[in-house]
């Protein structure tokens, strides 16, 4: 019988085994949803694109003034705006992903209760939209470097690796938050707080080298510390040194969050249509 290739057995509590096969089968839908999200975000709107430029740019100016000029923090031998903006890139990516992805399931609730597809597609596509924002900001960084006559070194080529790390961190947290947001609907009030708080406890406005040596390992418990340090190391080159034990700790934590986030999301996914 020709239909055997589509044989599907649904058994209570044992849907798991089809999951990876399904992810592959629904890859086209993933492109489409991501394409939709990008289209919708940039459609109406000159403001859509402008917004993704203005926000990091203004934050960069404020941080340069406050931390660079007023507090006179060290700048690792590069222009302070570039120091800040190199960190702004992954941070903006992270915080955009979080805010978009955490609401994504609820926003798409009507679709989720009407048709089946691997639900992970939805938060994943929100993260993809943030990747697009990331590349737009990256152009700004390029302009900023040209303005200051700053030439990046060979380490720049390792940037994709750190971008991958940033992606892992963003996606991991996004999965956690998207799932928690469905289970506990008032969780959405916590998210802006996490994002805002994170901006100050992560080394965005300053270099993490100002943290005293004995606290560095503890500081690296924040996964974004590893990501941001990696970005600075790759983009700024030269005098920037990376604190490897801390970086490894951060990266391990990122990995744990990604895996646990995925599992928690899977658990929520199975009851999603009943609770959303």
């Amino acid at each position: 019988m020709k239909n055997e290739e589509y044989l599907l057995v649904l058994e209570a509590g044992r849907v798991e085994k089809n999951y990876w096969k399904d992810l592959w089968r629904y890859r086209e839908l993933f492109y489409f949803i991501a394409w939709r999200d990008i289209l919708v975000r940039y459609k109406q709107t000159v403001i859509g694109i402008a917004w993704s430029i203005i926000r990091p740019f203004l934050t960069m100016i404020v941080f340069t003034l406050v931390f660079g000029k007023l507090a006179k923090l060290p700048s690792e031998g590069v222009p302070y705006p570039i120091l800040v903006f190199a960190a702004m890139l992954p941070w903006q990516f992270f915080s955009n992903s979080l805010s978009e992805a955490s609401n994504s399931l609820i926003q798409n609730a009507s679709m989720l209760t009407k048709v089946y597809f691997p639900r992970i597609v939805v938060p994943a596509s929100s993260v993809i939209v943030s990747v697009v924002d990331f590349f737009i900001s990256f152009v700004i960084l390029g302009l900023l470097m040209a303005w200051y006559g700053f030439v990046p070194g060979w380490r720049m080529f390792s940037l994709p690796l750190f971008l991958l790390l940033a992606f892992a961190a963003s996606f991991g947290f996004s999965l956690w938050l998207a799932a928690l947001n469905v289970r506990y609907r008032d969780f959405q009030y916590v998210i802006p707080f996490i994002v805002q708080f994170g901006l100050y406890i992560s080394p965005v406005g300053f270099s993490s080298s100002i943290v005293p040596e004995k606290w560095r390992l503890l500081y690296s418990l924040n996964p974004m510390v590893g990501v941001i340090d990696g970005f600075r190391w790759a983009i700024l080159g030269g005098g920037t040194r990376i604190y490897w034990p801390g970086f490894l700790l951060s990266s391990t934590l990122t990995f744990i969050i990604l895996v646990s986030g995925f599992r928690y999301f899977r658990k929520t996914e199975r009851v999603l249509a009943d609770v959303i």
Binding site: N3, E11, A12, R36, V115
Partner: protein, 429 residues
């Protein structure tokens, strides 16, 4: 031949929580755990397995098993809450069953709503691709069928307009057009034909019939019994989460469903909350009597019947200019006739504060069927009380024409006194 869909003893349990909103909030979780802590401190010996009074188990489906062969068009019927939608959701994998096993031998496309995933900001063209992908079509496939879809929907001119500017008719047509061009082996449809204008509905029904003839398997939920009878080759009747019948005799299944619906309306009219009107006069009861004055509960074609509508006026008034109506419809929703004092005589000049109005029919001209009765009371053209589906009444076959022959149940509709003659014509021309 092995069945294309095989359902073995599936069940779906929901936990109903009273007291609470539809969703769970973190603060509730915190408050609950604090409460539980408190209780533990006060009654340290109380058993931990104290059942939570705010939670209640509810089986939306229980022990449901059936098999469907390739090419069958199966109508799933049942009252609201019988578990139809839950069944469709399990088959289309939106939700997981709590128990049991489902085997599907083919690609499934589910159409529980037209236009799932349509985004108002996107253009018609973009939405066709998006919606097609959501319903499980591949990009190449959508591309190939694109022109066909657009032609079916009749929206060629508006392809590059955002769908938020579409009229609702265009929107529905486009959405259905995408769905109609799916090519899954198994198609699951939930009441989507209830949308669109009559002409488009007809087109959709035609398309569905075609789909079935192409050897695809269709599962179809509807309250429209006519559509079920026309489209389906098999039927499954659900009641309270269990299967009442599975049969290839659709006619019979529809009757089972209808008679099931017919026996349920026993809630007294006084307690009905779903009534409309100003409420100065309230309908309190509806009864039927035969010509001996005995109360009867079902009717026979051709019999004499007196309907009584009991009422009560609030505020001690004695209302004037009152009209009373009994609307009769078939259970398929088709309106049949209105019995009304205003139409046939004139309104009641003044009625006592509490009492009943009667309406007598000497020879009931309705063929065997189940009718649904709406009751309405108006005063000076203002609706005072209006109860939809106040009663469902079974009409049994009777000797209407006085010929000793009982009208068969297949001849549902009206019975009309008639005279027949035969005439010869001499062949002169």
């Amino acid at each position: 031949m092995s069945a294309i869909i095989q359902v073995e003893k599936i069940g779906k349990k929901y936990i109903l929580s009273h007291q609470r909103q539809s969703y769970y909030a973190l603060r509730d979780v915190m408050a609950d755990s604090v409460k539980r802590w408190g209780r533990k401190i006060i009654h340290p010996l109380a058993s931990r397995r104290d059942p939570d009074p705010t939670h209640e188990e509810f089986w939306a489906l229980k022990d449901v098993s059936f098999e469907i062969n390739q090419g069958d068009r199966v109508g799933i019927i049942g009252r609201n809450g019988a578990g139809k939608s839950t069944l469709l959701k399990i088959l289309s994998r939106i939700t997981e069953s709590t128990r049991g096993r489902v085997t599907l031998r083919g690609r499934v496309a589910s159409l529980l709503e037209v236009g799932t995933g349509f985004h108002p900001e996107l253009t018609g063209r973009e939405n066709v691709y998006l919606n097609g992908a959501i319903l499980g079509m591949s990009k190449a496939n959508i591309k190939r069928k694109f022109d066909e879809i657009v032609a079916f929907a009749e929206v060629e001119k508006f392809l590059d307009t955002p769908v938020k500017r579409y009229s609702s008719g265009m929107y529905v047509r486009l959405a259905f057009a995408v769905a109609a061009h799916l090519e899954p082996e198994i198609l699951i449809i939930d009441e989507v034909l209830a949308v669109g204008d009559a002409q488009f509905q007809k087109k959709c029904l035609g398309k569905m019939g075609e789909v079935g003839k192409e050897g695809r398997t269709v599962l179809f939920v509807s309250h429209n019994m006519t559509a079920i009878q026309n489209l389906c080759t098999n039927a499954i009747v659900l009641k309270n989460g269990r299967i009442l019948t599975t049969t290839a005799d659709v006619q019979n299944a529809v009757e089972t469903y209808l008679s099931d619906v017919g026996t349920i309306k026993e809630i007294s009219l006084v307690e009905r909350k779903d009534r409309q009107g100003e409420g100065k006069i309230l309908i309190t009861g509806f009864k039927m009597f035969d010509n001996q004055g005995e109360e009867i509960y079902s009717l026979i074609s051709g019999q004499t019947v007196e309907f009584r509508i009991y009422y009560e006026c609030v505020n001690n008034q004695k209302p004037k200019n009152v009209s009373v109506g009994i609307g009769i419809s078939a259970l398929t929703g088709q309106f049949l006739t209105l019995l009304s004092n205003e139409m046939t005589q004139k309104t009641f000049g003044a009625i006592p504060q509490k009492g009943y109005c009667t309406c007598k029919i000497d020879k009931l001209p309705l063929a065997p069927m189940i009718i649904s009765v709406n009751l309405i009371v108006r005063q000076n053209d203002i609706i005072q009380d209006w109860i939809q589906n106040a009663a469902s009444i079974t009409i049994e076959g009777g000797d209407y024409y006085g010929t000793g022959r009982v009208t068969p149940s297949t001849h549902s509709g009206f019975l009309i006194e008639q005279t027949w003659h035969s005439h010869g014509m001499s062949d002169v021309s």
